[in-house]
C-alpha cells in the first residue's frame, strides 16, 4: 500500500536528530513538523528571517509582522530569533543548516533536482530553492513517486530547468525510500512501502537505480 502524505512525512521525520537546524519547503514538507518525536528539539529555519518557528498563532496572536516563507502567519518557539534575508541565506549557503526537506517535479539519476519552473506554464521564480539545495548539508526530497499523469519523476536526466546539480541525498516517496550512493552516483532503494513490490518501483522509475540487498518495509 503506497504511503499517504502523512506517511511520507512521518518517515521523513525519522531523519531528524536532536538539535538539528532544519528548513522545510512549502507544501508537503511542512507536515514533517507534525512528526517531530517527543522530547526532541528541532529548530525550524524560515528563510525570510526566523529561526525557531512555532505553530500557527491563535486568532488573538495573529501578527502581520510574523510570517513564514510561505507567507503564512506563524509564531516562534521559546528561544527563537530574527535576522535579515542576507543573514538567513548566509546560514543556508554557509552550510550551517543541517537538513532541508523539499518537494520536486523531477529528479535525475545523478541527484539533480528540478522544482521551480515549467517553461511557458509555471514561471513564478525559484525563491530560496536554489540556495537551499546548494548550501544545506543534507537535502531530502519528499514527493509522489510519479506525477499526476502517472509519469515517473525519477528519470535519467531532468527535462525541466534545473534547481541544482547533484545535490539530493535522499528521496522519500509514496512507494519507497532511496539514498544517494555517492561513489556510484546512483540512488539505492533501501526501504519499500508495505505491500509494494520491487518490480512496481522499477516500473515507475526510468532512472537507473540500485536496490539494497535486504529491502526493509517502511515503518511509517
Amino acid at each position: 500500500m503506497p504511503l499517504d502524505r502523512n506517511g511520507i512525512t512521518r518517515r521523513a521525520a525519522r531523519e531528524l536528530q536532536d538539535g538539528f537546524y532544519v528548513n522545510l519547503g512549502i507544501g508537503m514538507p511542512t507536515l514533517v513538523a507534525n512528526h517531530v518525536p517527543e522530547g526532541m528539539t528541532v529548530w525550524l529555519q524560515s528563510e525570510n528571517g526566523l529561526l525557531g518557528m512555532g505553530p500557527f498563532p491563535t486568532d488573538a496572536e495573529v501578527d502581520a509582522d510574523m510570517i513564514n516563507a510561505g507567507k503564512q502567519t506563524v509564531t516562534g518557539v521559546p528561544g527563537h530569533s530574527f535576522f535579515s534575508s542576507a543573514e538567513s541565506f548566509g546560514m543556508i549557503r554557509g552550510g550551517h543548516v543541517d537538513l532541508a526537506i523539499l518537494g520536486a517535479m523531477e529528479i535525475s539519476q545523478g541527484g539533480d533536482i528540478a522544482n521551480w519552473m515549467i517553461p511557458g506554464k509555471m514561471v513564478k521564480g525559484m525563491g530560496g530553492a536554489m540556495d537551499l539545495v546548494a548550501g544545506v548539508r543534507r537535502v531530502i526530497v519528499t514527493m509522489e513517486h510519479c506525477n499526476k499523469r502517472g509519469d515517473p519523476k525519477i528519470i535519467p536526466a531532468c527535462t525541466l530547468p534545473l534547481t541544482g546539480l547533484e545535490c539530493i541525498d535522499m528521496i522519500i516517496t509514496d512507494l519507497c525510500v532511496m539514498e544517494m550512493d555517492r561513489d556510484r552516483r546512483r540512488f539505492r532503494v533501501i526501504e519499500i512501502a508495505p505491500n509494494v513490490t520491487r518490480d512496481e518501483i522499477a516500473e515507475r522509475t526510468t532512472a537507473e537505480i540500485l536496490f539494497a540487498d535486504k529491502l526493509r518495509t517502511i515503518d511509517a
Binding site: 495573529v62 542576507a86 513564478k124 546548494a134 534545473l162
Partner: protein
C-alpha cells in the same frame, strides 16, 4: 542637525524620482513592505522603473500597484507567484524579468551597499541562473560570479526610527530591508513610530542612521497574505 524627517511620502520622494531609475524595495511578500512609499511612487507618475524586490506584491497592493499602471519596465525578483497581473505581463512579453535566487538577491544588495562589486556563490551553478556568467573553481568546487546591486533609490519599511535615521525593524518584517537601505544612493524609510534621539538602545539598532537619508512616519495597513490560525 540635518533634518531627515519629512511630512509625507510624496514630499520625501518628490525630487528623487526620475523615469528609468532603479528602485530597490524592502519586504517579503506583503510583510515589511514600504507600502505608503510605494503608493506615493505610483502617484508620482514615474515610468520605466527597474524594481529590485524579492516579490512583486499582489495585484492590488505593494508593487502590484505599479504593475497595474505599467510603471515598471523590469523586475529583479526571486518569486512572484502571488501576482497574477505580473504573470500575465511577463508571459505576454510586456515586462522584463530577471529571476535571482533569493539568497543571491539578498547578497547582491548587501554587497552593493558594502562596496563589493561582485562575489562568487555556488547557488545556481549548472542552472539557467549561471548562463553567461563567469564561473571559477575554488578548492575543487565551481562557483558563479554575481554582481553587487546599487540602486538609485531605496524604499524601506522599519518599525521605529530616531531623527538621525537609526532604525529598528520588527520581527520578520526585517527581511530585505537592511540590505535595501544600504544599497540605495538615496534611502527613504517609512516608519510606524519616530522616537526622540537617544531613545533607541544603541545595542538594539538594526540599521545605523548613516544609511538613511529621509524618514516619514506613516500609518500602515499591514495586510496579511495568508492568515493561518490554530484553534484557541
Amino acid at each position: 542637525m540635518v533634518d531627515k524627517v519629512f511630512d509625507s511620502p510624496s514630499t520625501a520622494l518628490a525630487d528623487l524620482v526620475e523615469d528609468g531609475i532603479t528602485v530597490a524595495v524592502g519586504g517579503f511578500g506583503l510583510c515589511g513592505i514600504p507600502e505608503q512609499l510605494i503608493t506615493a511612487l505610483r502617484d508620482s507618475g514615474v515610468r520605466d522603473l527597474v524594481a529590485v524586490s524579492n516579490n512583486a506584491g499582489v495585484d492590488d497592493w505593494g508593487l502590484g500597484l505599479l504593475l497595474q499602471t505599467r510603471q515598471i519596465r523590469k523586475m529583479v525578483s526571486s518569486y512572484v507567484g502571488e501576482n497574477a497581473e505580473f504573470e500575465r505581463q511577463f508571459m505576454a512579453g510586456e515586462l522584463e524579468v530577471e529571476f535571482n535566487p533569493q539568497g543571491t538577491l539578498a547578497e547582491r544588495m548587501r554587497a552593493g551597499g558594502a562596496g563589493i562589486p561582485a562575489f562568487f556563490t555556488k547557488t545556481g551553478v549548472g542552472t539557467l541562473v549561471a548562463e553567461g556568467k563567469e564561473t571559477r573553481d575554488f578548492d575543487g568546487e565551481i562557483y558563479v560570479m554575481e554582481r553587487g546591486i546599487r540602486a538609485d533609490l531605496a524604499l524601506v519599511k522599519a518599525w521605529k526610527a530616531d531623527p538621525s535615521g537609526n532604525l529598528v525593524f520588527r520581527r520578520t518584517a526585517r527581511n530585505f530591508n537592511p540590505m535595501v537601505a544600504a544599497c540605495g544612493k538615496h534611502t527613504v524609510v517609512e516608519v510606524e513610530e519616530l522616537v526622540d534621539i537617544g531613545q533607541l538602545d544603541p545595542d538594539g539598532i538594526h540599521t545605523p542612521g548613516i544609511y538613511v537619508d529621509r524618514i516619514v512616519v506613516t500609518t500602515s495597513e499591514k495586510r496579511i497574505e495568508q492568515r493561518t490560525v490554530r484553534p484557541d
